[in-house]
Symmetry: C2
């Protein structure tokens, strides 16, 4: 069984906060837990906030373009671009919700590094084997509705390669590299709700074999030459 446990009762996150400490005050972790932390909480803790007048469409657009490596589509106020990390998402992750008026939150500079920082701090304080996933809410082509995906991870496999193993009938499996961290982020979202200020969820009971050093940037961001939709 896998359990998805919302971490409730966290204070509003402020620049300079050590998220590991906030989480450990709210929840008792166990060996092989994965702590999923929202991008918003990480960006706030890291001070990735900039002044932005909500009504200033031109300033908003400049900010989104400056956070982008390349713009793929633009329609009305919606920009689909590739961020400097290599993520393809709406508005380069620039977000006005759940931040103070007059401010916008940017994505962490290096979300894998952010995840490692939190994981290292959690490990230093508990001695436990833990994983950390930083989640954000992305749209996708062809399917309506948003889902949470991983933008950074540490201590848990981003992709689990089942190629070469056998299916239930003993035939070799082809093309079954599963993006476990995206599934972990999606699962966590079910437990956190959207407007209820739950910036972290503990996922308990995952396969112990999945706990290893990993990186969303190295394993999930697909190089352009391997992607049919660039």
């Amino acid at each position: 069984m896998i359990a998805l446990l919302p971490v409730e009762g966290l204070p509003e996150v402020r620049p300079g906060d050590e998220l590991a400490d906030l989480v450990l005050r709210a929840v008792q972790l166990e060996d092989h837990d994965v702590v999923v932390v929202t991008q918003k909480a990480v960006s706030k803790a890291e001070g990735r906030l900039v002044a932005l007048d909500e009504g200033d469409a031109a300033a908003r657009r400049r900010l989104i373009w400056s956070e982008s490596r390349r713009v793929l589509r633009e329609r009305g106020s919606l920009v689909i671009s590739e961020t400097h990390h290599g993520f393809v998402c709406a508005n380069a992750g620039v977000d006005l919700s759940n931040v103070a008026r007059g401010q916008a939150a940017l994505l962490p500079v290096d979300p894998d590094r952010s995840a490692r920082h939190i994981r290292d701090a959690l490990h230093a304080r508990t001695g436990l084997v833990l994983g950390v996933v930083i989640s954000d809410t992305f749209g996708r082509p062809w399917r309506a509705g948003l889902t949470d995906v991983a933008i950074g991870c540490a201590g848990i496999a981003a992709v689990v390669d089942l190629r070469g193993t056998q299916d239930a009938l003993g035939r070799p499996l082809a093309a079954t590299e599963v993006c476990t961290v995206d599934e972990i982020a999606a699962a966590a979202e079910l437990a956190k709700g959207k407007a209820t200020a739950v910036p972290a969820v503990v996922v308990r009971g995952l396969d112990k074999a999945w706990f290893r050093e990993s990186s969303v940037r190295a394993e999930v961001v697909r190089p352009h030459r391997l992607d049919l939709f660039w």
Copy 2:
């Protein structure tokens, strides 16, 4: 807390099997459970199997094209197409893994109807309020690794519209339609593993407000005119 419970000990599914009966023999359901069933199990129960010689690349390609409304990309043996349901996925869902040699499994003709059938059968036998999600494993552009998504659902909201509600700081939220059934499918995948013959997972503890009539085709398949990537 949300629990993800693999339904273990199911027999190999055969054409004509009533999946509701197989599930109920293996697990004790509770009110507001969602039962996630893999496409493969549903396709087998519905007899959506066709003869296909694995080595016959031309026959395989013909089959994939016949299951497609439109082909978007083709590279080597990989075809990315839009199925007759409107799903954009690899090889139109034609799948050789976990089926007998010499056979291929096709997607259900109407996966929402398949989900309703299972949900109705489960409800008739238990009297419980239940949801059913049919899951399949899809790739996606720009991100490596596969994740499970919903291709059909019944009794559980495909998309939960949080627009118009407020964020934790009291500001109105914009663009937060969450595709809950895709997140449920992804979560279930974490509990089922890939080669271990677990064709169903029970998701327990979801928000009771999400239980309503719904449809992946109506709510998740995005009309071409609303999609920036057609």
